[in-house]
Amino acid sequence: MELDKKPSKAKTIISGLIPFVFVMIMMAYIFGPGSDLLDLGVPLPEITIEMIDFVGSEVHATVRNTGPIPVEVVMADINDRIQPAAVEPDRFLERYETALVRIPFEWNEAEPYTIGITIEDGTRFEKEIEAAAPRLQLSLELIGFFAIIGTYVGIIPVMIGLMWLPFIRRLSKNKYHFFMALTVGLLLFLGIDSIEEALDASAENLAASFNGALLVATVTILSFLGLYYSGEKLIQRVKDSPYAKPVAIALMISIGIGLHNFGEGLAIGAAIGLGQVALSTFLIVGFALHNTTEGLAIASPLAKEKKSVIRKLVAMGMIAGAPAIFGAWLGGFMYSPFSAVIFLSIGAGAIFQVIIIIMKWLREENENSLSSASIVSGIAVGMLVMYLTSIFV
């Protein structure tokens, strides 16, 4: 199609703005003064208790107004028994505003508690805590402790997994494809796992008004698109060197896995922070076993690289593994359900992006087909291995 004349810039802008003007007129009509067009039904107030902290001899509840109308926090209770409390900064909450409710209470460690908050119309909202544990205070000792845990969960297993590199190098083309496909299976599982965890976290801690599932979908797709775009740019830049492409793929895999491990670190830090310590040691063993397979995923594309890759390998192991440490710090010291959902979703997007890259590469390598026995069985085995190791988590 050809435009007869260059349209003037002003006209383009105006024609683009006209619908907006009408939207504004419509809004003004609906919400404007004297308009009771939409005055139907009863708006129900709602608050969400997003976080409970046990600090000294106080219980802290972070409360957010997640309903359609302003609310007033008027009473706190613990285990359905009324307690005096302080609300900071004040008890009036506009939509999405938060307040901290401090309830002086001599709580007992490891005991379950239900924290209730009542608003001005007498409606009570509650949140259950499985086991009370003191909120972790930032200290060098704890920072070190989390770093060690992150190392065990992230760096060490990934590095161990990378040791499969010499083995993969000796494989025939078909067997090598099998291992690349296995990587796809592993990543597919990790991606689904991230999304599941993100959905769980949002269902447990975020109010319905945040549209948890759609938040996860949106962030995952944005992360996928962003990384896909920059990944393609990276591959184009290194196209001239025939051996650089595997490195680029390996790098992207490690970035994706790194983001995923950041999410896992958050989960572990939060589990310790929330006092589920027994669960947490178990979690650490499980993650360590599970994450060994992630090393394999990075090692597989690097097998094509003929030069010495030891340094690259170590760097990528760090990229993939070290975020677990940062995640554990963040999760342990300033856990917020919102950040957990966001990071897990970003991780999922990153992983799906890597899957696409590997699949494309496999397809090119395999005469434009993905239906070879080695690829299909590789993906299947990858999923199975991940599922079996996930039972330990």
Partner: protein, 352 residues
């Protein structure tokens, strides 16, 4: 484009992720917890235990307020007591600091006025229903079927009915609305106390009425608050002042719904208990009586020592949700009308 979108999302999400960082600092207040700790806060204090709500209903006034009605003598010599009771169902009451509840009321309060007559008096209640729903008055006691307030439904918006019956038997009885759904009409507050004094009268005493009730403010068929006379913790921050060696008589009526039982425990003392108040001889000498729905009775006691004494439900959940109060006993013998020794005189009446 995508990156700027992500950046914008990331920045705006910071407000959700770390809300507490953004709160402004303001002046500090402090409050003392019940275990003696001091809590400093830059925010507000929400303490239903010691902060008073701004209320129209005054439990302290209700406590000792008896409505003997408009009295006249009938041709046959009996006393006629006339009362006007107006039902409403649109009142919004602050029942606890900051908690607003749609109470349904007799004469504007929960519980309604304490109607008091002597056995044999003619009681005439002009009932006006100014509510939007149907209501009635159903008295516990002895009366003709058509005065029972069950089948004679009184319509809202000014419907009227006159209840007339001979007061009896002597004792303490509840009255309440008896329109279906009954539970709803009772828990919203349509109830009160009806005291019938025996003809021979009772010993002079500092008399009070306590209706043990609950409030289900979120309509989940579980009470959010419990109280003696509606307002949670009221008699804890407003102790009831009494004197040593003075006979105290409490007319207690349990109107709690949803929970099958309630109870009344007195500290530092025991009370004589007259179930339903129908017998002049006490059935128990105890500090703990369990009451089921509309179960009621009269409690009599005297304090020997001055000081602060709790009274509360020993179903501790109820007391921690408001059904707790304090008797502040002061040492004052000068104007005591009673015999000073609680252990002499009529002890043989207790039996063995």
């Amino acid at each position: 484009m995508i990156f700027s979108l992500i950046a914008a999302t990331a920045i705006s999400s910071i407000f959700f992720v770390f809300p507490e960082v953004i709160t402004a600092q303001s002046e500090e207040k402090f409050f003392v917890t019940h275990s003696g700790g001091v809590v400093k806060t830059t925010g507000e204090i929400i303490d239903p235990l010691y902060v008073e709500a701004t209320m129209e209903f005054d439990p302290m006034e209700y406590l000792r307020d008896f409505d003997y009605g408009l009295t006249s003598t009938l041709p046959d010599g009996t006393t006629l007591r006339e009362y006007t009771i107006v039902a409403e169902d649109d009142k919004i009451m602050e029942v606890s600091p900051g908690v607003f509840y749609n109470a349904w009321t007799f004469n504007g309060s929960v519980p309604g006025p304490t109607i008091r007559a002597t056995e044999g008096d003619t009681v005439r209640v002009n009932f006006i229903n100014n509510g939007s729903k149907q209501h009635t008055m159903h008295f516990h006691g002895i009366h003709p079927a058509e005065m029972d307030g069950v089948f004679e439904i009184v319509g809202g918006g000014g419907g009227q009915f006159t209840y007339e019956f001979i007061a009896g038997p002597a004792g303490v009885h509840p009255y309440h609305c008896h329109v279906m759904p009954l539970e709803e009409h009772i828990v919203h507050g349509l109830y009160g106390v009806f005291i019938v004094d025996p003809k021979e009268g009772r010993e002079p005493a500092d008399e009070m009425v306590m209706v043990l009730n609950g409030l289900d403010t979120d309509f989940d068929t579980e009470n959010n608050f419990y109280a003696a006379n509606t307002i949670p913790f009221y008699y804890q921050h407003h102790p009831i002042q009494i004197k040593t060696n003075e006979l105290i008589r409490i007319y207690v009526v349990n109107m709690v719904e949803f929970d099958p039982i309630n109870n009344f425990h007195l500290h530092g003392n025991l009370y004589k208990y007259y179930p339903t108040g129908t017998d002049l001889v006490p059935s128990f000498y105890t500090d703990m009586i369990t009451l089921s729905q509309t179960e009621r009775g009269i409690m009599e006691f005297e304090y020997q020592y001055p000081g602060k004494y709790l009274f509360h439900a020993h179903k501790v959940e109820f007391s921690e949700k408001g059904w707790v109060g304090i008797f502040l006993v002061s040492d004052d013998n000068s104007d005591s009308l009673q015999e000073t020794s609680p252990t002499t005189g009529d002890t043989n009446e207790y039996g063995t």
